[in-house]
């Protein structure tokens, strides 16, 4: 397949994010409140999160360096005007997803106080540090949307 450095780099980031944070999300959503107490759930979540962050940093450094070593062209490495347009457009998509996540999190925090209605998404799930995870998953989904949109735009022009 005919791909520039930027496109290969985006594919790598997308796959790494999907695999590493997908695995983290599964570990969080499948936590059993009958087996672990709330403190243990927080401890396990923090351990898994720090492992995921460390792993994605290592994977990105190693594989991005390998891809960069394979592209000897400075223009390809820095990107040109089309790369910048594609990046801007896909950043916009990611921004919308992240904004929705932030609004949902704020709503979850503020609405019960404003309306006096006792409603919390947190009570309906077993997710430890619920608001933090809501923001974290919003960020991860925003990144996935951003990378996917970027790849879509690269492929659309290449066909």
């Amino acid at each position: 397949m005919n791909m520039s450095f930027k496109e290969k780099s985006t594919w790598l980031s997308l796959l790494a994010t999907l695999l590493i944070f997908g695995d983290y999300a599964i570990s969080i959503f499948t936590m059993d409140a009958n087996v672990l107490n709330p403190d243990e759930m927080v401890e396990v979540a923090m351990h898994n999160l720090s492992s995921a962050v460390l792993l994605i940093i290592i994977v990105e450094i190693i594989f991005q360096s390998l891809i960069a070593a394979g592209s000897g062209n400075k223009v390809e490495f820095d990107g040109d005007e089309r790369d910048r347009l594609i990046t801007l457009s896909s950043n916009n998509s990611g921004y919308w997803v992240l904004s929705i996540g932030v609004i949902i999190t704020l709503g979850q925090l503020i609405l019960p106080h404003l309306s006096g209605i006792e409603f919390s998404l947190e009570e309906r799930t077993n997710i430890p540090m619920f608001e933090m995870h809501l923001l974290l998953f919003s960020f991860i989904v925003a990144e996935i949307v951003r990378f996917s949109h970027q790849i879509y735009l690269y492929r659309k022009d290449a066909v």
Binding site: E76, I86, D157
Partner: protein, 74 residues
């Protein structure tokens, strides 16, 4: 990133008449990636004025010879 493209170009033809210059050669001389030249040739991406002028300069032709616009003014 292509808009509904009404800009036509003769980049491929110009390359052919410039001793079959490769897309990579043209990309390096203009300062863009080969993928961008490919997208321009296929009419899927409209380059900036600067890149369009640079492409025309490489072939020593006027901008209007290499690029033309099909749309009408509303």
């Amino acid at each position: 990133m292509a808009s509904a493209n009404k800009i036509n170009n003769k980049v491929r033809e110009c390359r052919f008449f410039a001793n079959e210059m490769t897309q990579q050669d043209l990309a390096e001389r203009v300062g863009v990636t080969r993928q961008t030249i490919m997208a321009i040739e296929k009419g899927k991406y409209s380059p900036s004025l600067e890149v369009a002028f640079k492409i025309a300069l490489v072939f020593q032709k006027s901008l209007e010879t290499v690029f033309s616009y099909d749309g009408a003014i509303e």
